[in-house]
C-alpha cells in the first residue's frame, strides 16, 4: 500500500470514528503539517456533512392508509377470527368530519330516546288510569217496579244496557266499572219512567225538564 493510500485509509477511519485517541492525535498533527493531506480530509468531510445534513423528504399524505388498504387478508383459523373479533385490540381512526357526524347521531339518538320516554310516560299515565277503574254499586229502592235500568253517559243513556238486579228487600242494584270522573245518570222504571236518584250527591238539569243525578268517582 502506497503512502497516499495509507493516509486515505486513515482519513476514512477518522471519519468513521475508528481511530484510537492516540492514533487520532498523531494523525491530526500530521495533517497540520501537511496542507495537501488536510485539504484532502476537509473536502471529504464537507462532502460527508453535505450528505448527512441533506434535506429529508416528507412522507406523502395517506401513505399508511394506502399501505393498509393493500395488505392481503390474513389467513387465520375460524377460532382465531372469533377470538380476535371479541378480544382483539382495534386501532380507531377518525377525523373531524366523522367526529361531528358521530356527535350528530348521538344528539339525535338522545333526543329520540327522550321523546320515547315522554310518550311512554303518557301511555303509562293512561294505563294507570285504566288500572284505577273502580267498581261502583248503584242502588235504587223501587219494590213495586217490574224492571229498572240504569242509564247514564257512561253507557250512552241506554236503558237496555244497564238492567239492574232486584234484591229481596225491593232494592235494585247494579255494579258499574267506572274510571275516576263525573257522570250523569237516571233510573228507567218499567221501561217508561225516567227517575232521578233520590240519594244522588247532586243534580243537573237535562234540558228536558228533568234532573240528572250526578256521580263523582275519585281515585
Amino acid at each position: 500500500m502506497g503512502k497516499m493510500d495509507k493516509e486515505r485509509q486513515l482519513i476514512h477511519e477518522l471519519l468513521d470514528g475508528e481511530l484510537s485517541p492516540e492514533e487520532r492525535r498523531e494523525f491530526l498533527d500530521r495533517m497540520n503539517s501537511d496542507p495537501l493531506l488536510k485539504r484532502e480530509f476537509d473536502d471529504l468531510r464537507s462532502i460527508v456533512n453535505m450528505v448527512e445534513t441533506g434535506e429529508r423528504l416528507i412522507v406523502p399524505p395517506l401513505f399508511t392508509s394506502q399501505v393498509m388498504r393493500r395488505l392481503p387478508a390474513p389467513n387465520v383459523s375460524f377460532r382465531k377470527r372469533v377470538s380476535s373479533f371479541f378480544f382483539g385490540v382495534r386501532v380507531l381512526r377518525w377525523n373531524m368530519a366523522t367526529a361531528l357526524a358521530t356527535l350528530c347521531l348521538v344528539v339525535i339518538a338522545t333526543g329520540a330516546l327522550l321523546q320515547m320516554q315522554k310518550k311512554g310516560d303518557i301511555v303509562s299515565d293512561q294505563s294507570s288510569l285504566e288500572k284505577a277503574t273502580r267498581t261502583v254499586t248503584i242502588s235504587f229502592h223501587a219494590p213495586q217496579a217490574e224492571k229498572v235500568s240504569l242509564a247514564g253517559d257512561f253507557n250512552k243513556w241506554s236503558a237496555e244496557k244497564g238492567l239492574m238486579k232486584k234484591e229481596s228487600n225491593g232494592i235494585w242494584t247494579l255494579e258499574v266499572p267506572l274510571q275516576p270522573g263525573t257522570y250523569h245518570y237516571m233510573f228507567v222504571v218499567d221501561g217508561e219512567a225516567w227517575v232521578s236518584d233520590p240519594h244522588a250527591e247532586s243534580y243537573r238539569d237535562d234540558g228536558f225538564g228533568n234532573k240528572n243525578s250526578v256521580l263523582r268517582v275519585s281515585l
Partner: protein, 190 residues
Amino acid sequence: MYKANENMQSEEYSLIKQCVDGDGEVYAILVERYQEMVYNIAYRMLGDAETARDISQESFISAYEALENFKNSSKFSTWLCSIVMNKCRDYLRCKKVDISIDDVRESLFSTMPDPEGSMYQKQLGRTLQKAIGALPEDYRQVIVLKHIEGFDYKEMESILGVSANALKVRTCRAREMLKKFLLETRGTDG
C-alpha cells in the same frame, strides 16, 4: 432515522406476533414508525419521489407478507431495510436507470449564486441527489445506509448480507467517488 430502543424492540416483536396471529390492523403502527426512513432510502436510491413512494409501499406490503419469516434475533428496522434495498435493486435492474457524471455537472452549473438562499440549498440538494444517483448501486447503498440513515457497519452487514469489513472498504470508495464527482463538477463550474 428512527432508532428503536430495547423496549421499542420488544414492543415491535409483540406487534409482529399480533400481525402473524391475524390482527393486521396493528401493522399500521409499524408503518407509521418506519415510513419516513423507508421512503427516504427509496428516494435516495431511485432519485424520484413518486417511484420512491410506490417502492416503499410495496416494501411494507412485502414485509407484511413475510412477517412469519421474521426472526426476533434481528431488528425489525434492519430487516425492513434489507427488503427496501432488494426492491430498489430489482427496480433499478429492471429499468436500467443510469445517471452520468454529465447530469451531475449540468445540475451544478444551474446552481444559484446565492449560497445562503433557499433556492441554492434546494439546488444543492438536487445536485447531491444526482451525484448519489450517479454512484454504482453498491456504493449508493452504503452511502444511503451509513450517511443518510446513520446505520453502523454491523447493522449494514445484516441489511446487505456483506461483511462489515467489506462494507468499510466499499464506503471508503463510495465517498471518494462522490467527492470526485462533486469536486470535478465544481472545478468545471469554476
